[in-house]
């Protein structure tokens, strides 16, 4: 069973709909015990980092997330979930985050008024190193993004794939050990997004 962690960070049903389509059992939960019992964890989310960190604290979910990682369970961050895995986000005037990965989260800055923020739409992921999550996915495949902030890992070895927007080539897929996290929405990214989720459902958390 995959636990999709619900911490009042946006609508998670599309993640579950994609998994159901693949025949993969999942549960949307905010119960720390359900997270503790799950085989795999998806940590999704859209919205703002400040509210997300507050809700994680109120729901006592930060510890079960850390425990799932320590227990070597395959763990997938999506969008805001990916951002709050890092140490700090510039959003909401600056927010200390989970500090699971070293690095911070910055806002796109664009001098070009036609370069809209948020980035909304399909953009390519340039694969820097192969990873089981990207099995069957070619370099420069497009995924669906909606975000104004992007992660900047402190350690380049964490970077699995990158994407270019607003003058930066940012880390759109990061990971180490049993943790992998993407800035885009695989649940909205058509066939290749489903492929990535299927890969995750079959992944043993080793890379």
């Amino acid at each position: 069973m995959i636990a999709i962690v619900d911490y009042h960070a946006g609508n998670l049903v599309s993640v579950q709909l994609a998994l159901s389509y693949l025949g993969v059992p999942s549960v949307i939960t905010r119960d720390p015990e359900v997270v503790a019992k799950a085989d795999r964890v998806i940590f999704p989310g859209v919205g703002a980092a400040g509210a997300a960190m507050r809700h994680l604290a109120e729901l006592h979910l930060a510890e079960p997330l850390r425990q799932a990682l320590a227990d070597r369970k395959p763990f997938l961050g999506i969008c805001l979930g990916t951002q709050v895995i890092f140490a700090h986000s510039a959003e909401d005037g600056g927010v200390d985050c989970l500090r699971i990965l070293p690095g911070d989260v910055r806002r796109f800055q664009s001098a070009d008024p036609l370069c809209k923020i948020p980035e909304m739409g399909w953009n390519t992921v340039e694969i820097r190193r192969r990873h089981p999550l990207l099995e069957g996915i070619e370099d420069a495949t497009e995924f669906y993004f909606v975000h104004s902030y992007y992660p900047v890992p402190a350690d380049d070895a964490l970077i699995i794939g990158t994407t270019g927007y607003a003058g930066v080539q940012f880390a759109s897929v990061v990971g180490r050990d049993n943790l992998v996290a993407v800035q885009f929405h695989p649940e909205r990214s058509g066939r290749y997004g489903l492929q990535l989720l299927r890969n995750f459902a079959e992944w043993e958390g080793v890379c």
Partner: protein, 258 residues
């Protein structure tokens, strides 16, 4: 590089996809769920569904249909028509939609845009607008907002409304030209360019798409972030793949793997 999105628009009447010209003489084209799957498999980047009679018939949107679509396609889709309360909008997102679209409702009560933005997340809030050309000096941009399927004139300037909607919390604006709608003679480039360069959020051009050239023009000349297509794909004149091949050849970045 971020790709320009091509978005088939499916107008729904009595659970059938329908198409008219300027909201008249509608003909039924097919089943919305089947067409959604075909477009998704065929390379559409996003879909939009408008329940075009829900509002007039004073009934809620067909949520069961949205649920069926949400189960079978895994690209973003927006839903509009007949959404009057935040609860209706929650239901639509909960059925698997990515975005909700409001139009006349926001003109009647602009504060709903802010309420939606706070409750649903800005990126999920689409403002649709139906501007028509005017020489009324009250509308300095030269375009006036209409509502209720082009039937009512509001005296509101289109560019001012777009800027206000952005301030209030809209995440994206669909600019549907009344003058171009259903003509298949090309997008209203002046109008689209005015809005696309006037706001900081993504702008979707709508109304008038008839050939791939029209999409090339609206992306290259009017700076649209996305474009809506309807008749030209619904009637089988072009496939999404054919449109994208022509866009790509003209140097417009489009999604190539699906």
């Amino acid at each position: 590089m971020l790709k320009k999105r091509i978005i088939p628009c499916l107008d729904i009447r009595n659970r059938k996809v329908t198409k008219g010209v300027k909201f008249q003489n509608n003909v039924d084209l097919g089943d919305p769920v089947e067409m959604a799957v075909a477009y998704s498999d065929g390379g559409a980047d996003e879909l939009v569904f408008y329940d075009i009679t829900a509002s007039a018939e004073r009934r809620r949107i067909d949520i069961e249909m949205v649920r069926e679509i949400g189960k079978v396609i895994h690209i973003p889709f927006a839903v509009g028509g007949g959404l009057r309360t935040l609860e209706d909008m929650y239901d639509v997102l909960d059925a698997g939609a990515e975005k909700v679209s409001v139009n006349s409702l926001a003109v009647e009560d602009p504060n709903i845009i802010g309420e939606m933005s706070r409750a649903l997340g800005r990126q999920n809030v689409v403002l649709g607008m139906d501007p028509v050309r005017t020489d009324d000096p009250a509308c300095p941009s030269g375009y006036e907002i209409t509502t209720r399927g082009f039937r009512e004139h509001t005296g509101m300037d289109a560019l001012e409304w777009a800027k206000r909607a952005e301030e209030l919390g809209a995440g994206e604006i669909v600019v549907n030209s009344v003058d171009a709608d259903g003509t298949r003679e090309g997008f209203e480039l002046t109008l689209t360019g005015l809005i696309a360069t006037g706001v900081g959020i993504p702008v979707v051009a709508s109304g008038g798409a008839g050939t791939p050239r029209h999409l090339i023009d609206v992306f290259q000349q009017a700076h649209a972030d996305a474009a809506i297509v309807a008749s030209m794909v619904h009637m089988g004149h072009y496939t999404i793949a054919e449109i994208k091949a022509e866009l790509s050849a003209a140097g417009v970045p489009v999604r190539e793997k699906w």
